[in-house]
Subunit: 305 residues, 2 copies
């Protein structure tokens, strides 16, 4: 899957993933009102608004980018109707040829981890039927529980040709509370990075291991160090734009072929219509604003690698 | 919420939570067949089977125990119908007076973590409506991302009178890969434990802070150390029974009042009918087998604290 992702990035010359994290505050009034008129101010109404918003965004950007990253929390907050909108979004993105990175950050052990892997990457057995469930292509996974939490995902990666991104060094201000603490002179995130490389070797691949790493854009000197430690690993990089990091800081994240990286932007793109820079599009033009912001981001990233 | 949980444990003299982790392999054939006859070998069929199984179990044990712990992965693996079964289970447990500990192990940052907190503990704003979603009473949370991931949950704990259990030292064999690594001479799990105490002080409480800790039964010497470090914290203890730990090992987990602990058993109770010890109940008597196993577990734990 990471090989496929890198191929699409090369073809489009766009190491960009659009984060589909639809807070209702990002959804234009006309969509909210239409959804509420139909379903009321209910979880159903919120799910319908989110789905219409996403569809507009996807139609506007699908030809520019290799992948989208739905943040499942933003759907889970609207309960069953929110998760229905999530599943519709995943399926629609697949129709449009996009790779779907489910930002689920799941992490558990044994049969529980296997259940998450089945839910998001693999298939589940029901009687004699073998059924896909949410069916993303790649998911994010939390490493705190160790290999017991990761191995079931590796099995799903191998049997279904999927991938995972393991949290290594996250983009948030307090990520250092545990991740930066020194163990035998090395920060915890480096130990996790070493494990990511080891886990990656357990699943057959061509050039890019199926196990990637989440490395925040907001800590560029750590990104540089981790690239040296993990020369083959694909980095999923959050924190560009809204969280403060610019393209220039990201140069050391790329591998020797100018690949190995996919940079996420969520609100910078899906809520571009609310920013001064793209205000001319107005609420009606939210999708065009997202397209313009995506093109600007691609241009920005092309300038540095 | 932890005060309420301890009160119920005292009243029942039963520091026991039943893990509702319904793998289809645990569901008796007659329930599977009835559900499949109605809904087919589909995700809907699986969801229906899980719900019927859970209802039988809850009816059989609700008067013996303070709480249940649905493992959401086991529902998520059946997609939307599975999550509908999860929500029905949560609501039914509330009807029966049980405290519901959602074993969700979510962990993210900022607005994303707030969305998870809204989904599971709080309410979500949709237009002018403020709506409950999954509405568990307590959830498990992963600490790898640091305080940014926890603070939104603390807000929900305070505003809605709920609680969280933060993963500190998990019960699985590879939990030590990261959790046991020494930082300034102290294992990572101790640092996380210290943070749990700090987070717990940020939310008003009577005797038991709203922030508890997950401490596996399988590492009793660490449990003992952590009890000294965290004298007021409620411990959610997985790993009893199926994962190998017995009641005797758990004595040091209890606080000076013989409280502060809730021990989980999942398959040891919900799949008791498949064990030789309870085979006399048969598949038809799966719920009676669960009741007998719950009574045995309560008896076992009463003997040690």
């Amino acid at each position: 899957m990471m090989d496929r992702l890198m191929k699409r990035i090369s073809e489009l010359d766009a190491p960009v993933v659009v984060g589909l994290d639809p807070q209702l505050g990002f959804v234009p009034e006309q969509i909210l009102q239409a959804a509420f008129a139909e379903c009321g101010e209910t979880l159903e109404g919120a799910g319908e608004a989110v789905w219409r918003f996403n569809k507009g965004l996807i139609d506007a950007v699908y030809d520019l980018i290799p992948a989208v990253k739905p943040q499942i929390a933003m759907y889970e907050q609207f309960g069953i109707p929110g998760l229905i909108a999530c599943k519709k979004t995943v399926d629609y993105c697949h129709e449009k040829g996009l790779i779907v990175i489910g930002d689920v950050k799941r992490g558990d052990i044994g049969s529980t981890s296997a259940a998450y892997a089945a839910a998001h990457l693999g298939t589940v057995q029901v009687g004699s039927a073998c059924l896909p469930v949410f069916d993303e292509d790649v998911v994010t996974v939390n490493p705190y529980l160790g290999s017991d939490g990761i191995v079931p995902f590796l099995k799903a990666c191998e049997s279904c040709g999927k991938g995972i991104f393991v949290l290594v060094k996250t983009s948030n201000p307090s990520s250092g509370e545990f991740q930066d603490r020194l163990i035998d002179g090395k920060p915890l995130y480096e130990l996790v990075g070493e494990k990511v490389c080891e886990w990656g070797e357990a699943v057959p691949y061509e050039k890019y291991p199926a196990v990637g790493a989440v490395i925040g854009a907001t800590y560029p000197e750590m990104g540089e160090k981790l690239r040296k430690l993990m020369p083959k690993t694909v980095f999923l990089v959050p924190g560009y734009g809204a969280q403060g990091a610019g393209a220039a800081e990201l140069a050391p994240y790329f591998d020797q072929d100018g690949l190995g990286v996919i940079v996420n932007s969520s609100r910078g793109i899906i809520a571009a219509w609310k920013k001064e820079q793209y205000a001319k599009f107005g609420a009606e033009g939210f999708a065009d604003a997202a397209r313009a912001a995506t093109l600007d981001m691609i241009e920005d990233l092309r300038s540095v690698k």
